[in-house]
């Protein structure tokens, strides 16, 4: 008699067979990109003006915040504006990933109840969408960088590994929060407060160097504090990032990604029943 191709047995919390899961995920990669594209289209980013909005929106946001720090701080310069835009854009990569991820599973109800596929594809798409929205802002920043005459150096290549860490962190957060939202639906209404706090607690409206050492110690608990600080040092000031900052960001990113994925994969067979 042939060996069964798949066996379904009672649900136990535990990881599914990983090799098979990864193969199945890989074979569906075109679906992830097509699904993200259609979601973006749904949010009206398919048209020329929609795409223009992708650039205008972060620009307007940074203008508003610039006004805010000008009014509160009294003085401002080009560096300050460069720092604000660069940090804000990277922050929105993470925040968009979180807001997209939180409803990834609960709004995919029809898909989940009627087709069998690796569920982790849905939060992955949320991060892919956030990345699609981030790319035009990166182009805007390159233009701003040139216009306000910020310095250049080879150290700026550090931006690549930093972006990679940011993506792993964004993905980990999206996976974790999408899973939590299945069990506690009010997380999605609490999320705006969470992202708002992250925004104010991270070096975006101010620079990390302006923060007292005591506060800086507390900021170890903020996953994105040193990530954003490193990003600003590299792309705005064209300096090398501090190694401690990079290590802090990597450890947080890996921690979020591993715990998020572990929780998600060990619970995902239970999702269909919970929706």
């Amino acid at each position: 008699m042939e060996k069964p191709v798949v066996v379904y047995e009672p649900f136990r919390a535990g990881l599914p067979p990983m090799r098979e899961y990864m193969r199945s995920l890989w074979s569906r990669r075109t679906f992830i990109s097509e699904f993200s594209r259609s979601e973006l289209r749904e949010q009206n980013y398919g048209s020329v003006f929609g795409q223009l909005w992708l650039i205008l929106n972060p620009l307007l946001l940074s203008a508003v915040y610039f006004l805010l720090i000008y009014v509160i701080g009294g003085s401002s310069d080009a560096n300050r504006f460069g720092h604000l835009t660069a940090s804000l854009f990277l922050f929105y990569l993470i925040a968009n990933s979180l807001t997209g991820g939180v409803k990834a599973i609960t709004s995919g109800q029809r898909l989940i109840l009627n087709t069998s596929f690796p569920r982790v594809m849905l939060p992955i798409s949320a991060t892919v969408i956030a990345l699609f929205k981030f790319i035009p802002t990166l182009v805007v920043f390159v233009a701003i960088h040139a216009i306000i005459g910020l310095p250049y150096s080879w150290q700026m290549l550090w931006a690549i590994p930093i972006l990679f860490i940011a993506l792993v962190m964004a993905l980990g957060m999206a996976i974790l929060i999408s899973c939590i939202n299945v069990y506690f639906r009010d997380i999605s209404s609490m999320l705006p407060y969470l992202t708002r706090s992250l925004l104010y607690l991270s070096p975006i409206l101010y620079e990390a160097t302006n923060v007292s050492d005591r506060i800086k110690t507390l900021e170890i608990a903020n996953p994105i504090f040193f990530l954003l600080d490193s990003w600003s040092r590299v792309v705005v000031h064209a300096q090398a990032p501090s190694m401690n900052g990079l290590i802090h960001a990597s450890v947080w990113a890996l921690f979020l990604f591993i715990t998020g994925t572990y929780f998600f994969l060990s619970r995902e067979r239970d999702f269909a029943v919970r929706l």
Binding site: P4, V6, Y8, Y21, R28, L113, N114, T115, F117
Partner: protein
């Protein structure tokens, strides 16, 4: 969770395609609205759980062999869809074991994965990819899908402009080109007008080959009797009867008539 292109091996007729042993499925549903952190905190320490247990399936055992077309009948809430979801790996069983010997394609609801703001053409790709086809497979089959749906130029219009019949026709057409080892269809035959219904029925008949197993769930008893060579009757999660279509359907009709609700069940 296996993509269709993964398993393209031959199956000898009459070997087992799906084996369901002592299957039990219970859902725990919360009585009061959605599960939230607030609700969880409120009940903390009171030890009282706001849940209700629903037994959807109870000790069901079925073997489906290659070359069979198995019909599943039963009134609403009999556990038909739950059984299909367990076999296709969407919901894990609570008890028992399900073994599947081949690639499964499910058609539990039409137009899953479709996005109404995109055109019909884009949705063919989206729906096909969601069903586990590769982009190349869809490219190769695109014309066949478009022809089968009879949408003509409307295929390039956004799907939100479609009538519900057009929507269902495109959805069925995408699903109909998939050629898996095991095909599970839940209530999807009743789409479109009489002409399209006949066409989709013919397509199902074409899919009846010796190396494929088909599982059909339907309330259309005449159709089931016509297509299937074996019928299973479920009632309230238990297997009532299984065997020759004519006999099982006759027994089911008698049972339904006894409950004086015949009119509501013969509904396509």
């Amino acid at each position: 969770m296996i993509s269709l292109s993964d398993f393209k091996h031959e199956h000898s007729p009459h070997s087992v395609a799906v084996s369901v042993k002592d299957l039990g499925l219970t859902y725990t549903t919360s009585i009061d609205k959605k599960p939230t952190l607030k609700a969880r905190l409120k009940t903390l320490g009171r030890g009282k759980k706001h849940t209700r247990i629903v037994r959807a399936l109870n000790d069901v055992s079925i073997d489906v062999h290659y070359g069979t077309v198995l019909g599943i009948i039963g009134s609403n809430g009999a556990g038909k869809s739950s059984l299909m979801r367990v076999i296709s790996g969407i919901v894990p069983p609570t008890q028992g074991r399900v073994e599947v010997y081949g690639s499964v394609s499910t058609l539990l609801a039409l137009g899953v994965g479709f996005n109404p703001s995109m055109t019909g053409r884009d949705n063919v790709y989206l729906g096909g990819l969601a069903a586990g086809m590769s982009r190349e497979e869809i490219d190769a089959n695109f014309d066949a899908i478009a022809d089968f749906s009879e949408l003509g130029e409307a295929i390039d219009a956004p799907m939100r402009t479609y009538s519900s019949g057009m929507y269902a026709r495109l959805a069925f057409s995408v699903a109909a080109v998939v050629e898996p080892d095991i095909l599970i269809i839940d209530e999807a035959l009743s789409t479109g007008d009489a002409k399209f219904k006949e066409k989709s029925l013919n397509r199902i008949k074409e899919l009846r080959t010796a190396d494929r197993a088909l599982i059909l769930v339907s309330h259309a008893l005449a159709t089931i009797e016509d297509i299937c060579n074996e019928v299973v009757w479920l009632n309230k999660g238990t297997l009532m009867m299984r065997g020759n279509p004519t006999e099982v359907i006759a027994a089911y009709r008698e049972f339904v008539n006894a409950r004086k609700s015949a009119s509501s069940d013969e509904d396509v």
